[in-house]
Amino acid sequence: MGGAVGMNAPWVEADQGRLIATGGASSIEGAAGGGIIPWAVLANYDEKGEWGANLFGTHVNLPDYTLDVAGMAASYGNRVEVSYAHQRFDLGSLVHKLSLPEDNLTQDIFGVKVRLFGDLIYDQLPQVSLGVQYKHQNDFLIPRLVGAKRDADVEGYLTASRLFMGAVFGYNVVVNGGVRYSRANETGLLGFGGDRRDTRSVLKEGSVALLFNPRWAVGVEYREKPDNLSFAGESDWADAFVGWFPNKHVSVVLAYARLGEIATLDNQNGTYLSVQGSF
């Protein structure tokens, strides 16, 4: 959708007043962040009075499944970000094992994130942002069969990010920590709420990234997940990533993701690749 607009409309280049890499990458739910969690940073490089937009694509290759995500995020004034992501989760070998009626699950995620106060680099306080996501699971037959209660839900998160200059051997370190209030099963791909638990949980998430220079980062992420469905366990997620920001228009993130048990199949650990173009 955004791509079509980009090709047909005269795409005026936005101002990019923020420092490189401070827009983060695109998380799998569309919000600016790392890979599996949003950070308090806002997408793109707009400062006060400026705007920005990005398109991204992400592919996660797991032993029994694949996840593909495409989306976009627009931002204004380093204050507010709106994002959209479409996720497609291919069920792979599980389709034949369980004779499933569908071979993939898809979900749409609309997000808004607002920077409440603080700054990633400057000012006294860390950057703190509040986000809300509306998620809609599009193929509810399988989630319903395994006990999910609803195909759409709203969840919120509060997150803080701060760059500590020269914190580790003289290199800059970005620390992110947040809490999410959600009842999404496997981020919503398996619906929301379940037979075991149908109320939202407070879930912790965080990451640490080391910047070798303004263009290269390595880090780890962690995301706590609920366990609402009795048919299978749901694992907390973690990943270790390398991020490359050659300029303010392109970023690439490569990661090793440990997603654990997903829908009865354990050890879903694999590679994650995400590419973003920012305008």
């Binding site: 923020r18 400062e47 200059m165």
Partner: protein
């Protein structure tokens, strides 16, 4: 007499404590940047990058660039712990009425990093200088 001696003793202790609180000046960053000559190269390189930067060249177009260079060298030298005295205006005074934006400030940081890269200053050393300058953003922007 004893009271006077006690008083002098207490005063001496206080003075000693006062001295102990003032650590010996750390000039390791100054030396890592190549002392005065290295800092001058960094500042001159930064100004050359700024001259090619459409975002902020306008702020430097009509200034006495030699004076700006000299004052920036003094400023960086002092911030790096070097044996210099900053003789320029305060940052707030120097930027008054210029209405420098956050983006303009970051553009200057980028030009400084480019110049330090040109001079092969290691990233941890670059970070130390930027960490000294970043807290002063409030005296520069939106004045």
């Amino acid at each position: 007499m004893i009271r006077v001696l006690q008083w002098i003793g207490a005063l001496s202790l206080a003075l000693l404590a006062g001295c102990a609180q003032q650590p010996p000046k750390d000039d390791s960053l100054y030396r890592a940047l190549g002392e005065r000559a290295g800092i001058q190269k960094i500042v001159e390189g930064m100004l050359l990058h700024i001259a090619k930067d459409d975002r902020i060249y306008k702020y430097f177009a009509k200034v006495d660039i030699v004076r700006v260079r000299d004052k920036l060298v003094e400023k960086f030298c002092v911030e790096a712990g070097g044996p210099c005295t900053y003789t320029g205006d305060t940052l707030a005074e120097a930027h008054k009425g210029m209405n420098i934006s956050r983006g303009d400030f970051n553009a200057l940081v980028e030009n400084l990093i480019d110049s330090m890269d040109d001079q092969h200053i290691p990233v941890p050393t670059q970070n130390r200088l930027i960490a000294r300058l970043a807290p002063q953003r409030g005296d520069v922007i939106e004045k």
